[in-house]
């Protein structure tokens, strides 16, 4: 069973300025992080239960906690998966979903089964591919999109060339900024 109380309590503790401003000793900061992580875990169960009840389908839901660094094992390894987008705002929103994926092409379908435009983009300076598609989500509701890998590799898998390259010797010798 899920429980949101531990996260509630952790958030209450984290109202203290030490938790957000860097004014705590390191071991205290570590403890704040521990409380947040411990609080979030039973919340994931709670959310999974709620989504199962609302959607009428029980899934093994995955929460990608490291999307800010383009890490999501499920989307990066699965040939097909579902993306549930929940909108906590009291009005409809259109939102660009970004998920790290493997070097393939993907077909994205909206809740009605219609194909939506999508792109796989290679991030410069890395090997990471990200799948982009625009999701439309109703007020205080959710939409479920399905993503399926299709044959062929991503056409955008080539890395773009850098526009500017300058040498250190140039920086030392000139005050005017010019491309080499």
């Amino acid at each position: 069973s899920g429980d949101s109380a531990p996260l509630n309590e952790a958030m209450a503790v984290l109202q203290h300025h030490d938790a957000v401003s860097g004014t705590s000793k390191q071991h205290v900061a570590n403890d704040y992080a521990r409380q947040l992580a411990a609080g979030w875990e039973p919340c994931e169960v709670l959310l999974s239960n709620a989504l199962a009840r609302l959607s009428g389908s029980k899934e093994e839901f995955t929460f990608c906690r490291n999307l800010n660094t383009s890490q999501c094992p499920l989307s990066q390894t699965s040939k097909s998966f579902q993306v549930t987008v929940y909108n906590p705002l009291g009005r409809k929103v259109n939102w660009m979903v970004r998920l790290p994926v493997s070097k393939h092409m993907f077909l994205v379908k909206d809740p009605s089964g219609a194909v939506v435009p999508s792109d796989v983009v290679t991030m410069p300076s890395s090997d990471i591919q990200e799948l982009l598609f625009s999701a439309s989500v109703p007020a205080l509701g959710f939409s479920i999109y399905s993503v399926t890998q299709v044959p062929g590799r991503s056409p955008r898998a080539d890395r773009p060339e850098p526009r500017f390259q300058k040498s250190l010797s140039w920086i030392k010798s000139s005050s005017r900024v010019r491309p080499s």
Binding site: E59, T62, L132, S134
Partner: protein, 282 residues
Amino acid sequence: SRVLTIQNEYISASFDPDTGLLVEMKNLEQDLLLPVRQAFYWYNASTGNTLSSQASGAYIFRPSRQTPLFISRWAQTRLVKTALVQEVHQNFSAWCSQVVRLYPGQRHLELEWTVGPIPVGDDWGKEVISRFDTALETKGLFYTDSNGREILERRRDYRPTWKLNQTEPVAGNYYPVNTRIYITDGNMQLTVLTDRSQGGSSLSDGSIELMVHRRLLRDDDRGVGEPLLETSESGLWVRGRHLVLLDKARTAAVGHRLQAEKELLAPQLVLARGSGTPYHLE
């Protein structure tokens, strides 16, 4: 070396072909153009001087000089342009980079910055800022929010309830920015929405700066008892976003308030492999 531009139906952003820095922003819907240069700088943290032994630390922001130093005067840029996203990836140094992003239908420019690990091998504590410089005549005024609610007018070197003797020209003009900071000349308004609480200021007319990261080598002697010197992996890097809106002053609030709501209550993603079984409450 042609000018690099990203544009959707509402916003256009141009980058200097020589430096790779953002130099101009346009609101195409309202026909507004604002030359704006954005770059990253760092303040050298004070370790105390003849006036005061106070060092910059966890509680105290006290730069040793009023002028911050460039992290880099130019950025190596890479452009990503597809039907669904346009991005300019700017690499300022080994420890500072940024992605300037536009999605279709978006009325703001998204700046996703990544800073860290801040090098301190030179024994200088560093406090890193992102600064936007424009020619807007702001008459010493800027605006920050208070806990995401009331917007308060801030005036440089001034306090509304007492006669201020300004002894810290930089830190003494820094204010909390919980969700947004903006400047206006009465006609045009430049607003920056933050994704977290940061310190911010406008130290000269037409300028906005926000502190994004800091790494210090001295304790400020205010009770923490240790310098703000993160050594674990998680705290060395910081990634965040600034959303930049250019609007007419009289209509700007609609834009930044709606967008701030969207940021605060952003959609949540949950993934599943899609081989679930029917679920009934009973």
